[in-house]
Symmetry: C2
Amino acid sequence: MASRSADPKGSSQRNGGGTPSLDAVSLAIIEQLQEDGRRPYAAIGKAVGLSEAAVRQRVQKLLDQGVMQIVAVTDPLTVGFRRQAMVGINVEGDVEAVADALTDMSECEYVVMTAGSFDLMVEIVCEDDDHLLEVINQRIRALPGVRSTESFVYLKLKKQTYMWGTR
Amino acid sequence: MASRSADPKGSSQRNGGGTPSLDAVSLAIIEQLQEDGRRPYAAIGKAVGLSEAAVRQRVQKLLDQGVMQIVAVTDPLTVGFRRQAMVGINVEGDVEAVADALTDMSECEYVVMTAGSFDLMVEIVCEDDDHLLEVINQRIRALPGVRSTESFVYLKLKKQTYMWGTR
DNA sequence: TTCGATACTCACGGATTTCGTAGGTGGCCC
DNA sequence: GGGCCACCTACGAAATCCGTGAGTATCGAA
């Protein structure tokens, strides 16, 4: 169960940390699915040099391990969420605790701990200005440990890709 | 062929701007695919109250229109990109021109125009520190119109979802 | 009101894909 | 060597995909 990071064909790169590493073949599979999440296993197999079943098993494992997920993504504006913002947050005390609290909020779509003049950056997706105001002022600022926040309201989303590796 | 944003069952919301609007059914379809991008059309149809063929046609249209894409997403750290950063940028002159230039850079995964103390925010995905440094100092700062930048290096990604609507 | 366009349902059949499973192979450790 | 484990290939059955055509309902414009 411990996911020992096997090394099938010898053609993989060394793995440092605790996260399960990926060999070149899995990378290639992910690339294929980044282009089209519904691409058939057989087509992927042809592209990466594996049988259909092998691809299927690898994909299943990647999904199970949480390394990858196959999902629909949209521009939130198109889907009726008219206000988005990035919020920079400064924390006193336990940053991770604040991050966990933010993670539990459904409006927070993206939570990351950073180095720099903010401790946390959070992307907020809201339906309108009232909603956004409430989330930032009532909920985020109310969290214990939050010292200050700074908001960057989105005017226009110019780019949004998921194509790492395809370059 | 012109795809005029029809209004099938009368149960849709009005559409203001240029972007094609989405009725409740398409929203529901997107939700299904946000949970599992490979869910079969028949299963989606059962969930949203449409036939398999209708779902198929809607999904195809949503993809063609660019409203939605079905892709694999990963935590970049797992895939070998060890340094990520959010970069806030101040611009003098044409903000959109700078944004377009950033959009063309493969390391910029996310580009958004904002209101607040930054004009642009950009998410950068790099392989290591050298790469990150080069992108920020050599390439971004070199763009005409870029007045200043501020970087927030990612320490830990806590949350990353694509579940708008599923709430 | 009538016409035209759009979108849906239902149906069908062939091609393709998915899925479970059985069997083979190579590396690794005792 | 022998056992073990992870990974692969192979194959058949079941399910899904996909193009297609006919008939119906709704809406907006002439």
